[in-house]
Symmetry: C2
Subunit: 388 residues, 2 copies
């Protein structure tokens, strides 16, 4: 597998951001599409619209996305979505029913259509001059500090993904937008299954603040232009797709609003996948764990307290702190290590930017990895001042 | 009902805090006792010890509590508890089996027994000179900024409570310590039922940070010294106990680590009590709601997003913001109000110190009130720097 710069075969993409943002991804030929959406009961109109469309047909030619307004909990929501789809169809010469749409931004505010239209026209001009994954990733940013994209090649197959997300990130479906393009030849059933599985292993295991948004959307388009059939490279394609999604998931956490530290948490030997998720989520979402991380404080009791209220089963837990090189047992067989020497070593590790924690539950054989970040003054600042 | 300054008849209490803290409450005659404990699977040793004792016998003479060390996840935890009980029995002339114990503080650190013993001796001296509810409330403080106590009289019955708690506060059992004393005559069965019901309506509906601690404990002692039988004043006693618990619950939230604003959230017309709790907890625990509160930002979409992922049922929701005088509809029948006039009014209300939010789910007839606070820089500071 090789990290590349270019889009998969037969795709075009560009975007533009200035207050409002707009991005478009186009496949020259029709592509098999799949999607995963927020589990929030309150769903933004673009989510309802695209979900419905994906249930009705399986081939699409484009994904469009706007940032700055979520098109959620407003009057005339469907009319707004239709107006954007219509405009995109006209500008980019597409059939309306071949376009999927996603949105991100403030909830409950009327969209300034004129402002969005300006961005759409700008993107049309940019696209006429070529492709830019970076611009496409920029067009969907809100509080993101950097554009998120990754592209790989494995054999003759290319997989590329862009994502946005820095707040409202909770491991119950990736609270973010992510669009993945590939030129592999694959049928709808396999694509649906693969996407669901990989989203659950990557975006569903990250957390910035535990809030699940109304707009979460992952789309994948597979246009078959590489000529390579999925049936002949199942393992390789799985690896490539997992890599793309995991890298994007990590980027989202690293760009977590106000995040100064990155946590990789491995839950080991859980009784079930569900139990591993319960434990992992409780720990990466705990405010006390997150602030201890920010403070570089080896107050590991908070990790075990979070495990305790997670609902997961465990017995004689081991708790291990690591910086990648050195491993320190903070708790062994359910009893804390409180020697000054160990706490000092732990403090040193906690001062680092990237911290690994392993919690061995010792009641089964399921392992699962989660990605989280700390909670800083900056998070509070960003979110106290965001709307206006 | 009258707010008073003195303890219920037949009780003594005092406490002392200097790094480590210690408090004691003694009933001269044996009192009927009841307790409610943390639901965290990781329970501190004093919780396991007292829970077990309360299952075996129903009358007690004393509650003791230490602050600064949680006696949790350490080697020799039961030995530590026994040593404290033994010391208290000797100093205060009590039978060991008549003493209930609770602890609060850092998890996983060995207790410095000599330091605690000094505090216990100090409290013995203080108690010889008289009672002090305030000192008893101070002795159990950790990051609390003020001691929490309230006492009322209704007819000839007195009810008094002290509490501590400012962090690790989550509405799934009061994450805190609370000790209630009353001179009413009541049997064990009634007392158990009453305590459970009232804790669920008060301490279980508050939140500071969503973390449930390993040490949460509520004790009540009823010594019958007023001569008044519960059977003859059920309603009055209920009212008094509810008042004491609600006031203490509100104090805990107002003293929430770093809290600058107080939120009273009413969920109206929920389908069930469980649904009301789901909705209320999701909203008061949402980091995005809490930071919006801190920023005085009427970003109400975050409230509805939290409602959406809570799992509660709702339909055509109304969302009302109030300062106690003026009421503003931010959402009516599921559609947001985005006129500049309304947002401006909302912004003014959000600037206040005490904010009321009403969410009408319109699918049933259960109402429930919750108390929360904002998330400020100060919360991050306190919790990034707490352990050492």
């Amino acid at each position: 597998m090789e990290v590349i710069k270019e889009l998969p075969k037969g795709f075009k993409a560009n975007g533009y951001k200035d207050g409002y943002g707009f991005s478009i991804i186009i496949s020259e030929k029709k592509a098999i599409a799949s999607g995963v959406f927020t589990r929030n009961k309150v769903k933004a109109y673009p989510v309802i619209y695209s979900k419905d469309l994906l249930e009705k047909k399986k081939e699409f030619k484009a994904i469009i996305a706007n940032s700055g307004n979520a098109i959620c909990l407003i009057k005339d929501g469907f009319e707004t979505v239709n107006r954007i789809i219509e405009k995109a169809s006209e500008l980019f010469n597409l059939n309306k029913e071949d376009i999927l749409i996603a949105s991100t931004g403030v909830i409950g505010r009327k969209l300034d259509f004129g402002m969005l239209e300006e961005r759409m026209i700008k993107v049309k001009e940019l696209l006429e001059n070529g492709n830019s994954i970076v611009n496409a990733a920029k067009g969907i940013m809100t509080t993101d500090k950097f554009p998120k994209y990754v592209a790989v090649k494995i054999g003759d197959v290319r997989v590329c993904g862009i994502a946005k997300g820095a707040g409202m990130i909770n491991p119950n479906m990736a609270t973010m937008l992510c669009f993945i393009l590939t030129d592999i030849k694959i049928d709808k059933e396999d694509l649906d299954k693969l996407l669901k599985d990989i989203v659950d292993k990557t975006f569903n295991n990250i957390s910035v603040d535990g809030d699940t948004s109304t707009n979460d959307t992952v789309f994948i388009l597979a246009n078959g232009e590489s000529g390579v059939d999925y049936k002949n490279c199942k393992e390789d394609f799985y690896k490539a797709l997992l890599f793309v999604c995991r890298e994007l998931a990590k980027m989202i956490v690293k760009d977590g609003e106000g995040a100064t530290k990155f946590l990789e948490l491995t839950i080991k030997n859980a009784k079930s996948r569900e139990d591993a998720k319960k434990a992992g989520k409780a720990i990466i979402n705990s405010l006390l764990v997150k602030t201890a991380l920010f403070g570089g404080d080896p107050n590991w009791g908070r990790i075990i307290a979070a495990l305790g209220y997670s609902g997961a089963e465990f017995k004689d837990v081991d708790l291990i702190l690591s910086n990648g090189n050195e491993e320190i047992y903070l708790m062994r067989n359910g009893i804390g290590e409180d020697s000054g020497d160990i706490l000092k070593k732990a403090e040193n590790i906690m001062k680092g930017k990237e911290i690994k924690i392993i919690v061995d539950l010792k009641v089964g054989d399921v392992d699962e990895t989660f990605y989280g970040c700390d909670l800083s003054y900056e998070y509070v600042k960003i979110n106290a001042e965001y709307t206006t």
